[in-house]
């Protein structure tokens, strides 16, 4: 198929940026979306032009690196799919496709479609862990049984890949789905209990400090999340935060 691509080009965080038009031809249905961009870049390099910068790595939907806003939707038209798992059969011959970076104040553009998501790392650093040192002498893994239902819920929350689609989709650029996924995982497990109060306060504080917005319960993040992280986690985070604010005596 032949397509017209309208791609966001931006030299750096201080450049204003603009959409540029690129025709691509003879695209196969079986190509992934990123392979289609590879074809375009190959041509740009041969023509002595600057190829499109975009983040990608595992190309199987788990590393969370790819991050394109395609025709106004994070990771494109399909749900439960990362950009690298999107295939060109989802488009038709003659289509015009708009490709933009994640847009959020806390995700400054590095170049073209590449953004800086280190704010996510800093949220985890604020408390997204259990403070246990490496030791050959932690207790046996089966010493604390965990109800299957809790373990499964914790697992579901823990499958967040940290791609940032939730932030890019949210009209408030809120990172609450991301933050609440980690907070929920640890709130649902006994291992997370000792640090429960400080974790909730600190992670939320960091989230605000990074410039992410608040949640207004639209639910778009849940719809666009490639891993289907549930909105329930935000409710749990709100409870955790409320509880922590009341019991905190520091």
């Amino acid at each position: 198929m032949n397509l017209t691509l309208k791609i966001w080009r931006q030299d750096g965080p201080n450049d204003k940026g603009r959409l540029e038009t690129y025709p691509v031809t003879e695209i196969s249905d079986d190509m992934s979306f990123l392979e289609m961009i590879d074809v375009l870049n190959d041509q740009l390099v041969r023509d002595g032009k600057d190829p499109i910068a975009f983040d990608h790595d595992c190309r199987e939907g788990i590393c969370g690196m790819c991050s394109m806003f395609i025709n106004g939707r994070a990771h494109g038209p399909q749900t439960g799919t990362t950009t690298c798992q999107l295939h060109m059969r989802a488009f038709n011959d003659g289509d015009t496709i708009y490709i933009e970076p994640w847009r959020a104040g806390a995700f400054p553009v590095i170049k073209d479609l590449v953004v800086d998501r280190s704010s996510f790392d800093r949220i985890i650093q604020a408390g997204g862990y259990v403070s246990v040192n490496t030791s050959g002498n932690t207790q046996d893994a089966n010493a604390i049984p965990i109800p299957k239902e809790d373990a499964d819920k914790a697992f579901d929350a823990a499958t967040c890949i940290g791609c940032g689609a939730c932030v890019a989709t949210c009209k408030n650029s809120s990172a609450m789905l991301f933050t609440s996924a980690k907070l929920s995982q640890l709130a649902l497990l006994p291992q997370g209990d000792p640090e429960r109060t400080q974790r909730a306060l600190k992670m939320v504080e960091q989230m605000d400090k990074e410039g992410f917005g608040n949640c207004s319960n639209t639910g778009a993040c849940e719809v666009e999340c490639p891993k289907g992280i549930s909105l329930e986690n935000i409710a749990r985070m709100n409870r955790e935060f409320m509880r922590a604010s009341v019991v905190n005596d520091k």
């Binding site: 590393c63 862990y129 823990a158």
Partner: protein
């Protein structure tokens, strides 16, 4: 030839590690504060090592080329992690895990290292659970296990099909805690471009900031490489796009020997190549072979008709199908080890029985499983005289609950529904058992330079068992390296900060800069990927699932030609002082080309077949791998001498004190 000192402690196998730990030198807590350790790579080995070393009090600098340490390719591991916990009461033990790993590796690994791996395996599970890693549990709230290929017990711990993700996020959270404490300084989007050796000791690295293009010098008392495997030398593999050999190769050029580089694992069940534009291959977990049956048509005319789209697999009657693994290996059937299953698929396709347009695919069929589970489920639900349709429906639901995410992944990529028609699969490059040579301490042949995880060669011999890569990465990072590195660093407590003004830093930096600038001054015209694809084809056709002397010699010539052309004609746009992914790729491909030649040389020199290394000249009359224990029970460790083709071979003899060498048989 020089003798390599593996530093294996004396004494009985089961006491070696404990005794050794009791007697090595320590660094006291106050002195640790004055010692800097550099960790390159943040996968399972790197994250766990960096976090553990920082907890102990060392100052750690960690580097990854991705935008966050959480994205290292360990994240993509699916099936699980082995540990000798014996929670299932099925007779598992440290010794059994050790023995299975030695045998699975076709007797080409070190007994002492493998025993230690098995010994610390149980600690890994305890540590991860303490961190909050959500492993699968049964209804009693205790940890669940599943079974993997090549073993007769259930010792694999898992978190659905995302075990690697959960383990890596656990290590990443431990790392994040140390970053917050200021004990780890994290350098995201940085690539290591050289190691710096001063007075015979590794004292730092040269790195490039991939965002600004700035070249940086970083000093440290020791450097730990956890930079993963080199499967991307084949261009198409299940590795991530960015996975590369550069850190390891730079270390090799500075004196670290490369061990058994030709030992690569071709995984039997991957989604086949569909076109020349393809950038990577996707794995379908080994667990599918528990319930799927592998077959091709029995008659050549049927295979041809299927390739031409004139017949479908459903058109073929039972007697017209060849379940070739069950036919050749009745006792292990579809669950033979990876190397055996891969070679058998290639054999059928080479004979013309392949079932997709390219002729390189076989069927993985779940129809029997639907039927079997459907009947069971009907009994459980008390449905009397269920119809065929009812059974099929129930069976599909059971299979979905077991493998749903894999079936969905398959459908997304191929646009075929595996509940309705068999999957098509073909072997693909997955893992590299070879890597940087290390001694028992995980130290390379350069003092102060260590290698851990897939980057080293130490534990898997010539073939790795499923669910053992995660185990090894975390064993090295949590429980081995943090102890052994102290023995070396105890000599460094009075050294003081390593100055980056030393001429060795300046020299290494100049080499790096000169090489980068060449890419912009050569007036080339051909994109980097072109060369990478061509290298991949040479490697796959000559140093892949089957190897022979003629082809390997030809491949070496072809690669040398390609290397020459690469440096003349490669085109890198832009400049070196900017975010420039094409430049990053060019540097990596340059190193892959050199490594490829060494792999072929290694494969040529090892005139036996073992594990994943199959020399066509050395096989049994039935076409199985034929080892030569008399002449090849050693590790090939290659020393760089200025050109990969002239590398010098050193041999570390493998002494089997505790295990008897046998020919593997799965019939």
């Amino acid at each position: 030839m020089a003798v390599l000192d593996s530093k294996i402690p004396k004494g009985p196998l089961k006491d070696k590690w404990v005794d050794y730990k009791d007697h090595i030198n320590l660094v006291n807590p106050a002195n640790k504060r004055h010692i800097d350790v550099i960790v390159v790579g943040t996968g399972l080995a790197g994250s766990s090592a960096a976090a553990s070393l920082a907890e102990m009090g060392y100052n750690v600098k960690a580097f990854c080329f991705q935008d966050s340490p959480r994205r290292a390719h360990s994240i993509a591991a699916q099936g699980g992690i082995n540990a000798a916990k014996n929670y299932q009461n099925d007779g598992d033990s440290t010794y059994r895990l050790f023995y299975d790993t030695i045998k699975g590796g076709d007797y080409r690994s070190r007994e002492a290292n493998v025993y230690r791996l098995a010994e610390v395996s149980a600690n890994i599970i305890d540590q991860c659970v303490a961190q909050g890693v959500p492993f699968a549990r049964d209804y009693g709230g205790l940890l669940d296990n599943r079974s993997f290929g090549g073993v007769q017990v259930s010792r694999t711990f898992y978190a659905k099909g995302q075990t690697g993700q959960q383990l890596l996020l656990g290590a990443y959270s431990a790392l994040s805690r140390q970053i917050a404490r200021g004990k780890v300084t994290m350098y995201n989007r940085h690539e290591m471009l050289d190691v710096v050796v001063i007075d015979g000791k590794c004292r730092g690295i040269i790195a490039r900031n991939l965002v600004t293009g700035e070249i940086e010098r970083h000093g440290g008392h020791a450097v730990v490489l956890c930079s993963g495997g080199y499967g991307n030398v084949f261009y198409l593999s299940t590795n991530a796009m960015g996975s590369n050999v550069s850190a390891a190769w730079k270390a090799h050029k500075k004196g670290a020997y490369m061990a058994n580089p030709c030992f690569t694992q071709i995984h039997p069940t991957c989604i086949p190549v569909s076109g020349s534009y393809q950038s990577k291959l996707t794995l379908m977990s080994e667990s599918l072979r528990n319930d799927g049956r592998i077959w091709v048509p029995r008659k050549l005319e049927d295979a041809k008709a299927i390739r031409e789209g004139k017949k479908t697999p459903e058109d073929l009657k039972e007697e017209d199908r060849d379940y070739y693994l069950e036919r050749r290996y009745p006792s292990f059937g579809n669950l033979v080890p990876r190397d055996v299953a891969s070679r058998a698929a290639k054999e059928r396709c080479d004979e013309g029985f392949g079932v997709n347009a390219t002729g390189e695919a076989v069927y993985l069929d779940f129809a029997d499983a639907f039927n079997r589970y459907g009947h069971l489920e009907a009994n459980i639900q008390g449905i009397e005289n269920p119809s065929e349709a009812e059974i099929l429906k129930l069976g599909k639901e059971v299979v979905k609950s077991k493998y749903g995410n894999l079936f969905q992944m398959y459908e997304k990529i191929t646009d075929n529904n595996p509940y309705e028609t068999p999957m098509m699969i073909y072997p693909a490059v997955h893992y590299t058992m070879g890597g940087i040579w290390v001694d028992y301490n995980l130290m390379t042949t350069v003092p102060g330079l260590y290698a851990a995880g897939e980057a080293n060669f130490s534990d898997h011999g010539a073939n790795r068992l499923g669910a053992s890569a995660l185990m090894q990465g975390l064993a090295d990072g949590y429980f081995v390296l943090p102890y052994t590195i102290g023995d070396y660093l105890s000599d460094d407590i009075r050294t003081g900060t390593i100055s980056t003004d030393h001429p060795a830093f300046a020299e290494a930096e100049k080499e790096v800069v000169d090489r980068i600038e060449h890419f912009f001054s050569n007036k080339g015209t051909v994109p980097v990927d072109d060369f990478h694809r061509r290298l991949g084809l040479i490697m796959w056709n000559n140093c892949g699932m089957a190897r022979n002397e003629t082809n390997l010699k030809k491949a070496i010539d072809d690669i040398r030609e390609l290397r020459k052309e690469f440096w003349e004609k490669v085109k890198v746009p832009g400049n070196s002082k900017q975010f420039n992914p094409e430049l990053d790729k060019a540097g990596r491909v340059a190193d892959f080309i050199e490594l490829g030649e060494l792999m072929c040389l290694d494969a040529l020199e090892r005139k036996e077949s073992c594990g994943g290394h199959f020399r066509e000249e050395m096989q049994t009359p039935e076409g199985e791998a034929l080892r030569d224990d008399e002449n090849y029970t050693f590790v090939s460790a290659w020393e760089y001498t200025g050109d990969p083709g002239n590398s010098k071979l050193h041999k570390e003899n493998l002494d089997f004190e505790f295990v008897e060498l046998k020919q593997r048989s799965y019939k």
